[in-house]
Amino acid sequence: MIEVRLHGRGGQGAVTSAELIAVAAINQGKYAQAFPSFGPERRGAPVQAFVRVSEHPIRTREKIYFPDVVLVLDPSLPSIVRVTSGLKEDGWVILNSHKSEKELREMLGWQGKMAVVDATKIALEELGLPITNTTMLGAFLAATGLVDQGYLEEALEERFGRLAEKNKKALARAIKEIKIYQ
């Protein structure tokens, strides 16, 4: 079972991203849970969302304490939230940032697997909005390969209708432009 924690700000679509990963995984025949951090949420405030994906039925209702993957949608979060908290040693931190590997490693104090893409730039160019959730799904795919791109694109189409095309383009660009530091 793979456990994922998403960090975003209220309104950026962290919960939607979590949902899209779960939808893709389930349509692909796997088992998944997606859930928000339970409680009231405010626009702009740091929020979390969670996903579990497994080949077998998932039999736990615990919160996620030790994720395998951390996906950060907002570039300003790593300096104010300890995004690597509880992250497994061989886990992935996937960031939206234009910063260098060295700068990011120093800021996070993280020596493990890291993937970085400037998702805000891509989202602005492709969607005209700094909403990075679908772009970061591309980064998530490229780093983890946890779900198939086809199923994820299908989930995007179902969710966004005619806006899906743009989001798929942003997602594809993230896959191409991602920098992976093992």
Binding site: A22, I26, N27, A34, F35, F38, R59
Partner: protein, 391 residues
């Protein structure tokens, strides 16, 4: 057959209610139930569900409208949680006494104070004695399936009692997970139209809910109690029929790895899944631990429960609600009483856990089972203990 899809449990419940072809929904939004009634109001507004959606100014009005509606022979649904359920309190008793089969989903949430929007069973345990059929769902699939079952049982002429399906707030209500929604044809086959023998109809006037003077009140209550006990058979039969139509089997009491168990955890609701993982781990470590889950809470499945715990040395009952000053949590006291007359009964120890959204982890369940092992040899000092308190 239906298709397996990813759905938020609340949305799936609303879709199931739609498939049940409800005539009337009267509800007031409250966290964490809101998504259910929000989606139903959308379905009605979009013309996808031909029903009357009555917006009301409070839960007291919501349930009052539901009673009036079902009394006219309309299939009726509502949903609430916590303070909302508490506000319905005085009306809740009237529904079963007048034999009005409303179906309600309660997204269980703690009661104030302190204000908490998070999950425990405090809200529903305060309504233990209202006389409604009450079930608890373990996962999203079961939540949906229990809704079809609730209508099927409640409206059966041999039953005619209202029913509550309990789902854990957030832990279930806000979870996106795989759910198989059946085809409409299957639901129609399972759930016949609602045809009450007596209903409010201006062409055939009758009175409902007159005064019960001391000469008849006791008899009325005795009749209600007998009928409620008799509902048990129909509840089981409806689950048998459910299996025939939908292929999934449900029983009032579920057991997990109980063959040869000496210690068992007993729980209601979605935490049973986490508890199963704990049981697996302890079994691997050679401990003979099992799990009992009550799906049906009212009417209490006494005989099936006693059978399920036979041969145990210690039964650790986990309550998700506190009953201040009592001899245990609501489930703990119930189970002790149920077992008192049973020869060779297991020792019942009672833990209170998971209040107001406090997570109950696999480790917590292991700890409770370990304590149960200690109490196999030595009697606990207190009738119940609270788990996970920061001191």
């Amino acid at each position: 057959m239906g298709k397996r899809i990813a759905k938020e449990v609340s949305i799936a419940i609303a879709e199931a209610v739609k498939q049940c072809r409800v005539d009337v929904i009267a509800a007031y939004p409250i966290t964490p139930q809101t998504h259910i009634v929000e989606h139903l109001s959308e379905l009605v507004a979009n013309g996808e569900l031909d029903a009357e959606y009555i917006t009301v100014e409070s839960e007291h009005s919501a349930i009052s409208a539901c009673l009036g509606s079902v009394a006219t022979g309309a299939r009726t649904f509502t949903s609430t949680a916590s303070q909302g359920l508490a506000l319905m309190h005085e009306i809740l008793f009237i529904a079963p006494a007048l034999r009005l089969p409303v179906v309600m989903v309660v997204a269980n949430r703690a009661l104030s104070a302190p204000i908490s929007i998070w999950n425990d069973h405090g809200d529903i345990m305060a309504e233990r004695d209202i006389g409604w059929i009450q079930t608890f769902a373990e996962n999203g699939q079961e939540a949906v399936d229990l809704v079809y079952h609730a209508f099927r049982v409640a409206e059966d002429r041999r039953v005619m009692f209202p029913a509550i399906v309990n789902i854990d707030g957030f832990t279930l209500s806000h979870m996106i997970e795989p759910i198989e929604l059946p085809d409409q044809e299957q639901v129609d086959r399972y759930l016949p139209p609602f045809r009450p023998r007596y209903k409010l109809d201006p062409r055939k006037p009758l009175s409902m809910g007159p005064v019960g003077i001391p000469e008849i009140y006791t008899e009325a209550k005795k009749a209600q109690d007998e009928a409620f006990k008799n509902a048990y058979k129909v509840i089981l039969k409806a689950w048998d029929e459910f299996e025939e139509v939908f292929g999934r089997r449900y029983r009032p009491v579920e057991t997990y790895r109980m063959e040869d168990a000496e210690v068992a955890l007993l729980i209601m609701g979605s935490l049973a899944e986490t508890a199963m993982t704990a049981v697996d781990r302890m079994r691997e470590a050679g401990k003979r631990v099992g799990l009992v889950r009550l799906r049906l809470w009212r009417p209490f499945p006494l005989r099936d429960f006693v059978k399920a715990v036979k041969g145990l040395k210690v039964l650790a009952v986990i309550d998700r609600a506190l009953s201040p000053g009592a001899t245990g949590g609501p489930v703990g006291t119930e189970v002790r009483s149920a077992l008192y007359q049973v020869p060779g009964r297991p020792r019942v120890v009672n833990f209170i856990a998971g209040l107001g959204g406090r997570d109950v982890t696999v480790e917590d369940f292991e700890e409770m089972a370990d304590r149960a092992y200690v109490y196999m040899k030595k009697k606990p000092k207190e009738p119940y203990e609270m788990i996970g308190v920061k001191e």
